[in-house]
Amino acid sequence: MSTLTYATRREPGSTDEQGPAAWASLAGVQRLRDARPDDWHRAAAAWSTLAEQLTRLHERIDGSATELDAAWAAGSGTGAARACVAAQRIAVRDAQSPARQIAAALTEHGYALAALRRLAHQDLPHTERVLLLAQVRALDERTRATLLANRPPPAPAVLRERVGLRTDVARAVVQAQTSLSPQQVRAWWDSLTQAQRDRVLADDADVVGWLDGIPAVDRDRANRTLLAAGLDRLSAAEADLVHMLDRLRLPAILAPTLLLPVLGVLELRLARVRAQVAGLQAVRTCLERLGPRALLLGIDPGTGVSDGRAIVALSDPDHARHTAVLVPGVDTDLGDTPGELDPDRPSARRCRRADSGAGRCEPRLLAGLRRATGH
């Protein structure tokens, strides 16, 4: 058993700071101290903005319905158009109230969490810590119930039928495409509605981002989503590790015999996370420098031990007359991406010369691929 010691005042002779329950309540209070109520307020603001946007959208659709009546008075299609617009108006109207309810619940959660967090910073005995954590759980349950009660309204049948609101594509279906040829993948992609494609690009970006046959511009969209999400996730992990290390280095947190091994493990983990963050940031910097024509056709942050991988196209390969592929050596990693794709590098200049000799004005594609070291 570890010799964890919290710097908490104890009543002389009291036994309530000993035993597993006391440690659990101490740990729970510490988590409460680390909670971030501001995040909940920011989420509430986003939902409040959504509610306002829905109100404006409802007004616009309402106005459009009135104008439609005047613009298209008769004909067999006008009834269908009116029903369609009316269904959208109803869907938007019904969505406003749940969005507001969620915003209110998140605001309340943020304030309540802040109040409980203030109590957690006091030096409380075990029994009061238990009561405090019970309040946290009650708040958590109350917010959870409100959120689940305000899920989006079901779309009216007429809307689903007329415009294909159904957007879900099972992940298994998406994954099954990886065993098909690029031509078959492209045929599947073309069979989806735009809403379905949007959903797949958002939910299954890790699959379609690398999938040959998906249009390059769509792969780019999926991979930029992955890049942003990866940076968010790894930056959060980095901050958490730094926070943990800072706390562990405080006096009286861990016995010295335990401290050094734990610090060693965490510092190694931090170094790996930082290597991944640096690699992804290098790719993002490279894309920003190359401008809107560059497409990210694959991204993998690696593990911090193995190198990450990225495929960057300097322009859309789906419309290229010629392609040139640059595969950097095994001693490169994601952090070298900007340098590897520098237009002044000899490889890029040779590419331009070759393209010019073939009667073309510029290279259509220069792709960079990082392989894991040793492969």
């Binding site: 971030r36 603001a45 903005t49 067999s76 269908a80 869907a91 969620i102 809403a195 958002a202």
Partner: protein, 119 residues
């Protein structure tokens, strides 16, 4: 889309009953509305509470689930509104072609309220 298939293929195109410019105006406003409100899902996705999970496990996971469902709903709604706009443009195109075929410039204001012209 059903609306597209119904209206332009309909046999009873009453040219005097449609104001093509107004119809295109409605379509443009719907398309603009769909574009503007496409920002809403991005706003929800950007508001992260992941790192508050330590004190609020149930609420946090419920928020992620609810948010994902809402993003799906909003994405679908945006696509629906956008497609309505496209369908109305298609209707306007059809009426415009009907005018061209007839070889005359037909406008409601010029003809009057009586549906006397049928393709």
């Amino acid at each position: 889309m059903r609306l597209h298939a119904t209206a332009p293929a309909g046999a009873d195109l009453h040219l005097i009953d449609v104001d093509i410019a107004s119809l295109r105006g409605v379509a443009a406003r719907l398309a603009a509305a769909a574009q503007v409100d496409g920002a809403a899902p991005r706003g929800l996705a950007a508001a992260r509470t992941d790192r508050t999970v330590t004190a609020s496990g149930g609420a946090q996971s419920a928020l992620v689930r609810t948010r994902d469902e809402w993003i799906g709903f909003l994405t679908g709604l945006r696509a629906a509104v956008d497609r309505s706009a496209q369908a109305l443009h298609a209707v306007a195109d059809t009426y415009e072609r009907a005018e061209d075929d007839a070889g005359v410039a037909v406008r409601p204001a010029a003809i009057g309220p009586e549906p006397g012209w049928r393709r």
